[in-house]
Amino acid sequence: MTETVIQTRGLTKEFIRDEFHVVALDRVDIDIRKGEFVALMGPSGSGKSTLLHLIAAMDRPTDGEIRVLGQDLRGLSDREVSYWRNSHVGFIFQSFNLIPVLNAIENVELPLKLTTLTKKEQREHAATALKLVGLEERMRHLPRQLSGGQEQRVAIARAIVTDPDLILADEPTGNLDAASADEALNLLAKLNRDYGKTIVMVTHDPHAAGFATRVCHLEKGVLLESLQADGS
């Protein structure tokens, strides 16, 4: 049986926003196995991004259990969580979020600054990642000198440069045109298929979800259904 990399039980997240009590996630139970490409779908405010942030340990749950890659995230300090995230998780944002003063290869190198790799090794790893996303010709370009699609590919290269077990993507095609979106999705699918990366992607685009091997629907913080790509 395939190893479970993400497991939540009764996962709940509540916010107090302007005196209103908001339940963003309501007792969510989910298991995601190694090598899966999961799309989290749902309308705005359904809790899909909140679930992604909890999986990435960017936020703490109000209640419930969450184990990612065998690690109980509730037991880690802020510092331990930072190192854990650097080693095990690659995160892709909707708005790319590259550092504007760094060029493409420097942006990709950034997570490697926290490792024990030498400068030369860091540069080699970053170049390999950029090559994998097809941007070896744009290494010295600043983000403002790249198109949106290229920026997102740099962001994908940055997410995979530490060779993480888990790639999390929050609406990765939300700011891209159709052609660039397909390029990015094909890349994610390739990472999942050829390199065995477990990917969790938040999207509200059914076309994007079509690239996933499994689609989970959330509504008002509740996990409704979970369908395999083959519809089972």
């Binding site: 510092r79 944002f93 979020n97 003063v101 950034l110 400068k119 940055r158």
Partner: protein, 393 residues
């Protein structure tokens, strides 16, 4: 173990990401630290100058207790000679007057009427050929000038020098009898007290029996405090009370005629430091605030709050250190210019930005950088990731 050098390129790029703002911040820091360095150098030169030489250490100056402008009776001289430990006494009268054009500050230098036979025993560091010394003692209108002064005006022995009096309503016409070497390179001219007295006789209708200062030579530096006390006690119940102090203290008191210079300089220094602290705090907090979203991105990539705090403080330190270095370089150049310019305070001729002052200035620069950035950097580094990512800057 990750290396700090990993983050240096990031620190450097972020420090100068907004070139115009960075240049203006560095320039304001440089200007302020230049002023601060110059003030500190002046403070040190005026109040903590070099230790007195052996010759200076045994000299005392006696003046009227009320002020330097008030004279004392000549009769004090004989009484002062009686104080144990006093080896020599010389009266010294500031003449003032105008040489050539009074509007040119280059023409200002010290001119004293003195007893010629005493000058070179009291100022034992001066050296003058014996023939010139004797000519100075012998000739009523003779004068001697330091080599620094003679070189400045191109004077040669035999030169005719005229001063038009302002304090005293007489014109003295002098002949340069000798040029002496002074290791302190002061610009001073001495002429005969008797000549001044004689010139004033028709004006006063009698003998001038008052003088502004007495210069004493003690038998040892240890006797100086006692002699000072005893001389002042001796005249304590007369109409002409005295103030006797070491030469070094006298020079410092002369500086204090400008007002409470110490307080003035400290106040300016404090105001400058506080102002740059406010200016740089404003700039650096603005710079950090604009990048809160980037801090969130870096945290998502695994940067810990400690590393983020370190890089933000590193950026602030780099910028303030750059400003400090430029400021110190300017202060060094200004010190060199001032010390070689014609200035009335001999102490300022030793004006220099010492290694200690440079170190203090650079430390202040770094502290200002750290102090300014600490609060915004702490806030940014502790901010939750999702709050940071939601920040639009």
């Amino acid at each position: 173990m990750m290396r700090i050098s990993n983050f240096l390129p990031l620190v450097f790029k972020n420090s100068f990401r907004n070139r115009r703002r960075s240049i203006l911040t560095v320039a304001s820091l440089a200007l302020s630290l230049c002023l601060l360095g110059l003030l500190m150098a002046m403070y040190e030169a005026l109040f903590y100058g070099p230790d007195p030489t052996p010759a200076q250490a045994v000299r005392l100056v006696v003046r009227n207790k009320v002020s330097l402008a008030q004279p004392m009776p000549l009769s004090h001289e004989q009484k002062i000679r009686q104080v144990p430990g006093v080896e020599a006494v010389m009266l010294q009268q500031w003449f003032g007057g105008t040489y050539r054009d009074a509007r040119d500050p280059n023409n200002f230098f010290a001119r004293f009427a003195v007893q010629p036979q005493e000058v070179f025993s009291i100022f034992s560091e001066y050296s003058l050929p014996e023939a010139e010394r004797q000519a100075f003692v012998r000739e009523r209108t003779a004068c001697v000038a330091s080599r620094t002064l003679a070189d400045k005006f191109g004077w040669k022995t035999g030169e005719r020098i005229t001063f038009v009096g302002d304090i005293f309503p007489v014109t003295v016409e002098l002949k340069l009898a000798g040029i002496y070497d002074d290791p302190n390179q002061n610009e001073v001219l001495y002429f005969q007290w008797e000549y001044l007295r004689e010139s004033l006789r028709p004006v006063f209708g009698g003998e001038m029996d008052m003088v502004s200062q007495f210069i004493l030579k003690a038998d040892s530096p240890e006797s100086v405090p006692r002699i000072s006390r005893e001389v002042d006690e001796m005249f304590a119940v007369t109409p002409f009370q005295t103030k006797t102090e070491s030469e070094q203290a006298f020079v410092l008191s002369f500086v204090s005629f400008l007002g409470n210079l110490k307080l003035f300089m400290l106040a300016i220094g404090g105001a400058v430091t506080f102002t740059i602290l406010l200016v740089s705090a404003n700039t650096l907090s603005m710079s950090v605030r604009e990048r809160i979203r980037e801090v969130g991105i870096m945290k998502t990539l695994g940067f810990t709050p400690g590393i983020i705090l370190g890089t933000l403080l590193g950026e602030a330190s780099l910028m303030s250190l750059t400003g400090g270095l430029i400021g110190c370089a300017f202060a060094w150049a200004l010190c060199a210019m001032i010390s070689s310019a014609p200035i009335p305070f001999a102490q300022l001729r030793g004006l220099a930005l010492t290694p200690l002052i440079t170190l203090i200035c650079l430390s202040i620069a770094i502290l200002i950088g750290l102090g300014s950035a600490l609060l915004p950097a702490l806030n940014a580094s502790r901010r939750p990731i999702l709050d940071s990512l939601g920040h639009s800057g």
